[in-house]
């Protein structure tokens, strides 16, 4: 399973979708949910998820990005 497949499986998971990104438009034909799509959603959970799975940030940078998304 590639990183993109993991990301796709979570984004399209009905439980996550309902709880964290109900407004995000799911298109199961999309192979890879890219950076632009995620950023456009403006959803802090999706952005965190993308950073966490796809980006190869150091733990400190990743955490800073996440805190920024959650306005903490």
């Amino acid at each position: 399973m590639r990183k993109q497949e993991i990301l796709k499986s979570i984004i399209e998971n009905p439980e996550f979708r309902e709880k964290y990104w109900p407004k995000f438009k799911i298109n199961s034909e999309i192979q890879d949910y890219n950076h632009v799509l995620i950023l456009k959603s403006n959803n802090k959970f999706l952005i965190t998820l993308y950073n966490l799975i796809i980006e190869n940030d150091t733990p400190i940078i990743l955490y800073k990005k996440i805190l920024k998304s959650f306005e903490l």
Binding site: M1, I6, N13, F16, T48, L52, I53, P59, F70, L72
Partner: protein
């Protein structure tokens, strides 16, 4: 990317003498048939040395010689590796060298590159048994595609041989037949690593690690933030203190579970490491107890024989049941009695004659002759009556002379016998009568005594036969399993004790872990409840709400990944089980006893703190679902091979490393050997095979055998296959190669 071995050149390497021993390989299947001492295992060792600097040789441990993997530059064993004849030809202070040179092609989608790798150990001879290693030469050459000439490169040997077979796959692709059942990538942690590499678990694990570190950071930040909150009511402050205390408790419990699980893992590894030795000792212990049982049985039989003898003697000497008939057989008793009776009759007669002084000498002689018959006087009187006058014994008529003799000599003589007060005569007569009585009494008991004796004889004969049979059973047993001393020596009491105590500790630890995991779950629920209460009471605090949202999200991700991992492992196990079982069935298709056997890939899941831990086991199961732990021979060898092929099937691509196997079929039946070659050659599952075997050689005919001919037929149509015969030259002078088929 893939790699294909072009040739190998063992230099002064065991029985490969000199520096030109090039063996050329095809890019497909290469079958190398070696006669005895042709250097098959030594050739396999050449590949091993090139890949890992190591060789497997027999080394002396205590009194035994056992196979061990050693470093080839270990000076203790150097002279075992260096060709003996080549070493003896070296003069003192000469420099000699031994090692391996190998050429292979590294293929990628864009290019093909040929490399030559040399690993040569140089030494200076000091004496026939002493030397000093002067150089450990290692060099990579790349072959110029145009000129075909090798050029030195600066690349490291280890990096280049990693292209040949990457370290992770070496134990799959460089195999030694006898050791296939113990292939570490298919057991314990090795198997886990193999599975992780073949599935997406590694990717998931990396994400889980990130989620883990995030979780810790968020937890710590929430704790810090909550502590700084001034607006909290007294009740909330109490809730927060409780929550933090629970969180500390949770942390400590989590750490305890982790350390207990490490202990559990160590114990399980210990148990797994000593399981084979323990099982062997246990088997020997059972065998020893069987042998002791047999020896006890024999002792019991001997005691029964003794008892029967004693009982027999007792019954003979017991006055109540003693009869003369027990000692003699009937004919003897009759004869003996008649002899004794006759003797006594003689004594009586002699005494009577002695008493009759007036009888003539002639009459005395006649009377002596009549001792035997001794007629009664009344009978004699009847015989001389007028109307009879006949001898009752000889039936002849009696003349006057006879009648007078009877009347005047015999009748008075016998009348005196029956009416005499002579002490000696009476004593003799009484003894004679007593013997007669004893004889008649004894005769009455004879038939039952005879029965008693024959029964006693039969009993002793049966018991003696039983003893002989038991002794044979004991001899057979000892012939197969060894005697008491052998079995005693083979039992390792320490291993048995350690195995039992480790299992006991493991049981305790597992139940402790189960209790702690339950407590951990309860604590988590309590903390969650406390957090929800705090959150509810402080809804107006946006920052706390954001922290909690983030925390919930990360926790949900954690749970989700755990679920994915579980699914991936389950799917993998199921798929490998199907594929490996199919392979096993195919490889064992000619063996009816394993027709319904199935390879099981078992995933064991344990809750450890927040997560699940997984372990794997692969084993063979019979049609009744029984786990076969000690299946020997073909099935244990092919079980491993089936899993290797099953893993390659799972990876769903033709394998790109050469498969180099020494004696992979030595423990198989002829039919299974054939199916092995069919799988290897026809299936094309592997890109290049180098199969080194002796099972295709007929020592009596000094030629290849029937199976070899079948294998030759199989590879005949394959242009990329070779069939090579290795034969040793005399006096350790090297090895001869004969290419029966030389493919490209």
């Amino acid at each position: 990317m893939s790699s294909v071995i072009r040739h190998i050149n063992p230099i002064n390497w065991f029985n490969y003498k000199g520096s030109d021993n090039h063996i050329y390989f095809s890019s497909g299947t290469n079958v190398l048939v070696g006669t005895n001492n042709a250097g098959k295992t030594k050739l396999h060792n050449a590949f091993r040395f090139l890949l890992s600097d190591r060789v497997i040789i027999k080394v002396k441990v205590s009194d035994d010689k056992v196979y061990q993997e050693i470093k080839a530059d270990n000076e203790k064993y150097t002279l075992e590796i260096f060709n003996e004849s080549a070493y003896s030809e070296l003069k003192i202070n000469d420099i000699g060298s031994f090692g391996v040179e190998l050429c292979f092609t590294k293929k990628s989608s864009t290019e093909e590159k040929n490399y030559i790798v040399k690993k040569i150990i140089k030494l200076r001879k000091i004496s026939d048994s002493k030397f000093e290693i002067t150089e450990n030469f290692r060099q990579v050459y790349s072959v110029d595609p145009r000129t075909k000439k090798p050029r030195r490169t600066s690349e490291k040997v280890d990096d280049i041989v990693n292209f040949l077979i990457t370290p992770m796959y070496r134990k799959f692709f460089l195999v030694e037949g006898e050791q296939m059942g113990m292939m570490t990538p298919l057991q314990g942690e090795g198997l886990k690593t193999t599975i992780k590499n073949l599935t997406s678990i590694n990717t998931i694990d990396k994400v889980v690690d990130v989620v883990d570190s995030l979780q810790k950071k968020v937890d710590s930040d929430i704790k810090k933030y909550e502590s700084q909150l001034d607006s909290l009511s007294e009740a909330d402050k109490l809730l927060m203190t409780q929550k933090h205390a629970k969180e500390n408790e949770l942390k400590e419990l989590g750490e305890l579970i982790e350390s207990d699980d490490t202990l559990r893992q160590e114990l399980e590894d210990n148990i797994s490491n000593i399981r084979v030795k323990n099982d062997e000792s246990k088997d020997k212990k059972l065998l020893l107890s069987d042998l002791e049982g047999l020896l006890n049985d024999k002792k019991n039989i001997e005691e029964r024989i003794d008892y029967n003898y004693r009982d027999f003697i007792d019954s003979l000497t017991d006055s109540k049941s003693f009869y003369i008939s027990k000692i003699f057989d009937e004919n003897h008793v009759n004869d003996d009695f008649e002899k004794i009776d006759k003797n006594f009759a003689g004594f009586l007669k002699e005494r009577r004659i002695e008493l009759e002084k007036n009888i003539s000498e002639e009459d005395q002689l006649i009377l002596q002759k009549l001792v035997k018959t001794e007629p009664h006087p009344d009978i004699l009187k009847e015989m001389i009556e007028d109307h009879v006058k006949k001898c009752y014994i000889c039936k002849s008529n009696l003349g006057k002379e006879n009648v007078d003799f009877i009347k005047n000599v015999l009748i008075p003589h016998y009348e005196m016998s029956y009416d005499n007060d002579d002490y000696e005569l009476n004593l003799l007569s009484s003894i004679k009568d007593s013997i007669k009585i004893i004889f008649h009494e004894a005769r009455q008991e004879y038939s039952s005594d005879e029965h008693f004796i024959s029964e006693a004889k039969e009993r002793i004969a049966d018991l003696t036969q039983e003893k002989i049979d038991k002794q044979k059973e004991i001899d057979d047993f000892i012939g197969t399993h060894g005697d008491k001393d052998d079995l005693d020596r083979a039992i390792d009491v320490n291993i048995l004790d350690q195995f039992a105590s480790d299992n006991l500790d493991l049981g305790k630890l597992k139940s402790e872990l189960a209790i702690n995991n339950k407590a951990l779950k309860a604590l988590k629920t309590e903390i969650k409840d406390l957090s929800e209460k705090l959150e509810k009471n402080n809804k107006s605090d946006n920052k706390l709400e954001s922290y909690n949202n983030l925390n919930d999200f990360i926790t949900d991700l954690d749970v989700y990944f755990e679920k994915i991992k579980e699914n991936v492992y389950d799917d993998f196990a199921l798929s490998l089980q199907e594929k490996a079982s199919l392979r096993f069935k195919k490889l064992m298709r000619n063996n009816p006893t394993t027709k319904n056997h199935k390879l099981i890939v078992k995933v064991d899941k344990r809750d450890i703190g927040y997560r699940k831990k997984y372990s794997f086991e692969i084993y063979l199961q019979n049609k009744r679902g029984k786990k076969l732990t000690q299946e020997g021979g073909a099935s244990s060898t092919l079980e491993t091979l089936s899993v290797v092929f099953g893993l390659i099937d799972y990876a769903n691509k033709k394998q790109t490393f050469p498969f180099i196997a020494d004696a992979p079929i030595s423990r198989l039946t002829p039919d299974t050997k054939e199916s092995f070659f069919e799988t290897i050659i026809d299936d094309e599952i592997l890109s290049q095979n180098i199969i080194i075997v002796m099972d295709l050689w007929d020592n009596k005919k000094n030629n290849i055998n029937e199976l070899a001919k079948d294998v030759l037929k199989l590879i005949e149509p394959k242009s990329d296959s070779s069939f090579i015969i290795l034969k040793p030259k005399e006096n350790n002078m090297g090895v001869e190669f004969n290419y029966l088929k030389n493919g490209k």
